[in-house]
């Protein structure tokens, strides 16, 4: 696709700065194909995979580079549950709120998580370690109730196991912390 604005070089330069080379390259490859605007959802996935969330600056840069109205980009980003508009913590806890998990007590596990972490769904702990989210069914209903921390699935979780599981992750943070302080 040809350039679309008279300040195209400037648009590209700003976008590169905000989105990074990877995302810009991806957007440009999308623009080379038919119906490029239909790739908006894929582009936002790419940005989120790179930065963990979609910041306002990201959305603006995507709008400019894809030549899609900023209002539409913001509309799409806020419509879909999968997109996160706030930065996330080091570990992302996703508790499955699907039917099978609910019937097997996911609500009690969720309550325990909220009590332990002192945050509600969609929030991040003040130390930036955990973000808690409820997710739609992740399709492992045979193992309900299920909790995912990043990519690791914890199956058949009981409220009592919650502190033990969290402790393991906190331990990781502490170990990483002592390593860095040891080095400096």
């Amino acid at each position: 696709m040809s350039t679309s604005t008279d300040n195209w070089e400037q648009v590209q330069a700003t976008a590169k700065q905000v989105l990074g080379d990877n995302v810009v390259k991806f957007i440009e490859s999308c623009r080379a194909e038919p119906n490029p605007e239909s790739q908006l959802i894929a582009v936002l996935h790419k940005v989120q995979a790179e930065y963990g969330y979609l910041a306002e600056a990201h959305l603006d840069a995507v709008a400019q580079l894809m030549q899609i109205p900023a209002a539409k980009v913001a509309g799409v980003a806020s419509f879909y549950h999968y997109y996160r508009l706030e930065p996330r913590g080091r570990f992302l806890i996703n508790i499955c709120m699907g039917t099978a998990c609910y019937v097997k007590g996911a609500d009690r596990v969720a309550q325990k998580l909220m009590d332990e972490l002192g945050i509600r769904f969609g929030e991040t702990t003040t130390d930036g370690v955990f973000t808690l989210e409820g997710t739609r069914c992740i399709g492992t209903c045979g193992l309900a109730p299920v909790m995912m921390i990043d990519d690791k699935v914890h199956a058949e979780v009981t409220p009592d196991q919650v502190p033990v599981i969290l402790e393991k992750y906190l331990d990781q943070v502490r170990r990483a912390g002592s390593e860095t302080s040891g080095r400096t």
């Binding site: 119906n35 605007e37 239909s38 790739q39 908006l40 959802i41 894929a42 936002l44 996935h45 899609i68 539409k72 509309g75 799409v76 419509f79 879909y80 549950h81 999968y82 997109y83 709120m97 699907g98 039917t99 099978a100 609910y102 019937v103 097997k104 997710t135 739609r136 069914c137 992740i138 399709g139 492992t140 209903c141 045979g142 193992l143 309900a144 299920v146 699935v153 199956a155």
Partner: protein
């Protein structure tokens, strides 16, 4: 026009090692060439690695630890120095609660499957079974078993099998074996669902039996036939060619491996026939299981109308929930004046509690791709899209791999299999919006818009993606297409009921003993499915209801369990077939709470475009919350019902129109529970916290003070060795006291 001789383009088979160059021939020649090469590679591999260890690999298997198991086997094989073992991955069988599942197949022996394998068990399996030929009987899938049998008779349990009134292979075999002097301890006799061998007009004149480990399928028409098999095959080691059924029948590969497991052998596997059988990443394996044979047949015939006729004849109805006849949908698009058309696979499986599509995409991706190519040919599309949820990374990876492999082998792209049919596929990701399962919303999402539905008509078959005629089918529908072409429309049509042909896959979950994926013929009763295949409710509790169809479905009470499962019966009972989620609820589940759960979901997922759905779901949720918090009145029930009917009638799309179903069906079948909540302020299932009352039983309390120390609002009084008392005014009903009491002294009423 497709059958004629034409010149093929240059296209390598695998990487750079082969080059077909300019081959002249028909579509069938090209197919034979490809499948022949794939088969040769497979045979070569089997000749050097006759022992097969297969490890389950799907999202659920990985969650249970199958990747570590695979790695551990790899290390053991390397360390042992053995070069006759092939380690490969397979999809998910659907036996979720027993994963990871590992199969060890040694030539000449009954295949052994192990359940819940971990690294420790890998070591035992390898040293004992693989190295010393001593299977671990205690860890066999759905075991433990007492022994490994030398032979196994798997009898067809289909109602079409049997040559005379009352003839029963299963019952007559033990006697015949005994008379012949065979040690009964050496033989296992089991019954399975239809093998699919009965298509050739032999209904009610014969029966079928699969003899393992030789994997020979016999057609038996009299007791003498059975005697001959026992004498020649079992005792003499000779295959009885006269009775042998050739060809690859549909259920056979699956039953050869899993036929002895009760959970599996009552099922009829069509869409799931390759799950747990083949390696989902390997096109070679797919070719072996009749892969692309249906496509070759279709392109060879070169007549889209023939394909549509076959689909119509099979009585296949859309498996995504709507149940619209697939053949009719294809006809509408094929007849459109516009020549640019699209085909879409709806893999936006958003129903909480459903994972059929994920399993099919992860375990048999090539089959779904082939079904789509055939669909594209039938309606005259040249571009197709997979719309997959972003929450299914492994399914996306496997579909992408399948598409690439197909392109590499000339099965996608320009001039498929040398015909003049051009078709290509793309994967498009969803982003977590349940409403995108609705077809017009899905189209908007592919176009890069917010996934909001629009008014129909025009239907997508007339004006869909970018305004062009578009067919949208569910994953399971496409998975059935190859079976329709390969095994015959009549054959599929005669499974199931007169109005709904074929099978349906369900995701069994909730309070049931055997959770997992099951595929059964339409028309099977709920009771058979839940009690016989699912093993009934866990912990001796009483079944209360079965929820089908997810947030758009309803609850079917226990007394209606003899209902046959098909589109029409379920909708008559106030529920829907839906995409196939099936949640079993027991006496501990509160039906008002279940209705509230689904309403929370629908309210959250309502896209906000039309008022009845946006406002209606919100208000219904408020009423349900009032009721479960003990603040509801009898008038609320009338209000709820009126509102539910209004939303059902006036919403724009399927989401809003179906959202009241859980409320209406529970109001209909479980009104007494609602009345208990509003009139008596009581939750019969003891689930709604606000309606509970905690009291300490003075007979049981020993005065240990544990409850008082754990109470978050310190409303429990009493000193050491004295009976404690809960202050009902201050109690927040958190249930902590009941959890910590070691003497069961805290009563919940």
């Amino acid at each position: 026009m497709f059958g004629e001789i034409r010149v093929f383009r240059q296209r390598p088979f695998d990487g750079n090692s082969h080059n077909l160059g300019e081959i002249v021939g028909t579509v069938q020649d090209r197919y034979q060439e490809l499948s022949g090469q794939a088969e040769a590679r497979r045979q070569e591999q089997l000749a050097t690695n006759p022992i097969l260890i297969q490890v389950g690999s799907a999202t659920c298997e990985h969650a249970a630890g199958s990747r570590e198991v695979f790695e551990e086997f790899r290390k053991h094989i390397v360390a042992s120095g053995r070069d006759d073992i092939l380690l490969h991955q397979t999809g998910c069988t659907g036996r979720c609660s027993r994963e990871p599942i590992v199969g060890v197949f040694v030539p000449g022996q009954i295949p052994i499957k192990y359940e819940r394998v971990d690294r420790e068990l890998v070591h035992q399996i390898f040293t004992s079974h693989v190295q010393n030929n001593q299977p671990l009987l205690a860890h066999v899938l759905d075991g433990p078993v007492e022994r490994v049998y030398a032979f196994e008779f798997l009898c067809c349990g289909s109602h079409r099998c049997g040559w005379e009134e009352g003839a029963n292979l299963e019952a007559s075999l033990p006697g015949l074996l005994k008379d012949a002097g065979v040690d009964l301890e050496q033989v296992n006799i089991a019954r399975a669902s239809c093998f699919g061998a009965c298509s050739s007009g032999n209904e009610k004149t014969c029966s079928h039996v699969l003899v393992k480990p030789d994997k020979v399928l016999y057609r038996v028409c009299s007791t003498d036939d059975l005697k001959e098999i026992i004498e020649k095959h079992i005792q003499g080691g000779q295959i009885v060619d006269r009775l042998r059924v050739g060809g690859k029948t549909i259920g056979r590969k699956f039953f050869e491996i899993y036929g002895d497991v009760a959970f599996f052998n009552r099922q009829t596997r069509v869409a799931l026939r390759h799950n747990g059988v083949l390696d989902p990443g390997s096109i070679t394996e797919y070719f072996h299981y009749r892969g692309f044979q249906a496509l070759a047949k279709v392109l060879d015939k070169g007549d889209p109308n023939w394909v549509i006729e076959q689909v119509k004849k099979s009585k296949l109805r859309g498996r995504g929930g709507g149940g619209f006849p697939t053949g009719n949908k294809w006809t509408m698009a094929a007849k459109a004046a516009e020549k640019i058309r699209y085909i879409i696979c709806n893999a936006d499986e958003g129903d909480p509690g459903a994972f059929m599509d994920r399993s099919m995409l992860e375990s048999d991706p090539f089959n779904v791709v082939e079904g789509m190519i055939i669909g594209g040919f039938a309606i005259g599309a040249s571009r197709g899209f997979f719309y997959v949820r972003a929450e299914y990374p492994l399914a996306i990876e496997r579909i992408q791999n399948a598409i690439q492999e197909c392109r590499r082998h000339g099965l996608l792209g320009k001039g498929i299999l040398g015909s003049d049919f051009d078709f290509d596929l793309e994967v498009r990701l969803g982003a977590g919006a349940f409403v995108c399962g609705e077809e017009t919303a899905l189209i908007h999402s592919i176009e890069g818009e917010r996934g909001q539905p629009r008014i129909r008509p025009p239907y997508p078959t007339e004006s869909g993606l970018w305004g062009k005629p578009t067919v949208i089918n569910n994953v399971e529908t496409f998975a059935n297409i190859t079976a329709v072409i390969n095994y015959g429309a009549e054959w599929l049509g005669q499974i199931g009921t007169p109005s709904s042909g074929g099978t349906k896959v369900f995701a069994l979950a909730g309070k049931i003993r055997h959770t997992g994926l099951v595929e059964v013929p339409m028309g099977m009763t709920l009771r058979e499915l839940v009690e016989e295949i699912g093993g009934g409710v866990v912990g001796g509790k009483k079944l209360k209801a079965v929820q089908t169809g997810g947030p758009a479905g309803g609850c079917i009470p226990a007394h209606m369990l003899d209902l046959p499962i098909d589109f029409d019966s379920l909708s008559k009972a106030g529920s829907i077939m839906g995409s196939g989620g099936m949640i079993v609820l027991d006496e501990d589940d509160c039906m008002v709470d279940v209705a509230k759960f689904f309403m929370t979901f629908s309210q959250d997922e309502s896209c906000g475009k039309c008022t009845p759905c946006r406002e209606g779901t919100t208000r219904m949720l408020e009423i349900l919350e009032r009721i479960t918090h003990g603040k509801g009145t009898l008038e609320d029930l009338g209000l709820l019902e009126r509102l539910a009917k209004l939303v059902k009638k006036s919403s724009l799309c399927g989401l809003g129109r179906a959202a009241p179903n859980p409320v209406l069906s529970t109001l209909n079948h479980f009104r007494d529970e609602y009345i208990a909540h509003v009139a008596d302020k009581r939750c019969p299932a003891k689930k709604c916290a606000a309606l509970l009352r905690y009291e300490i039983d003075p007979q049981k309390c020993v005065g240990c003070t544990v409850c008082a120390r754990n109470c978050p609002v310190t409303c429990i009084s009493g000193s050491r060795r004295e009976v404690h008392v809960i202050d009902q005014e201050r109690c927040i009903k958190c249930g902590r006291c009941a959890e910590v009491c070691r003497f069961n002294a805290v009563l919940r009423t």
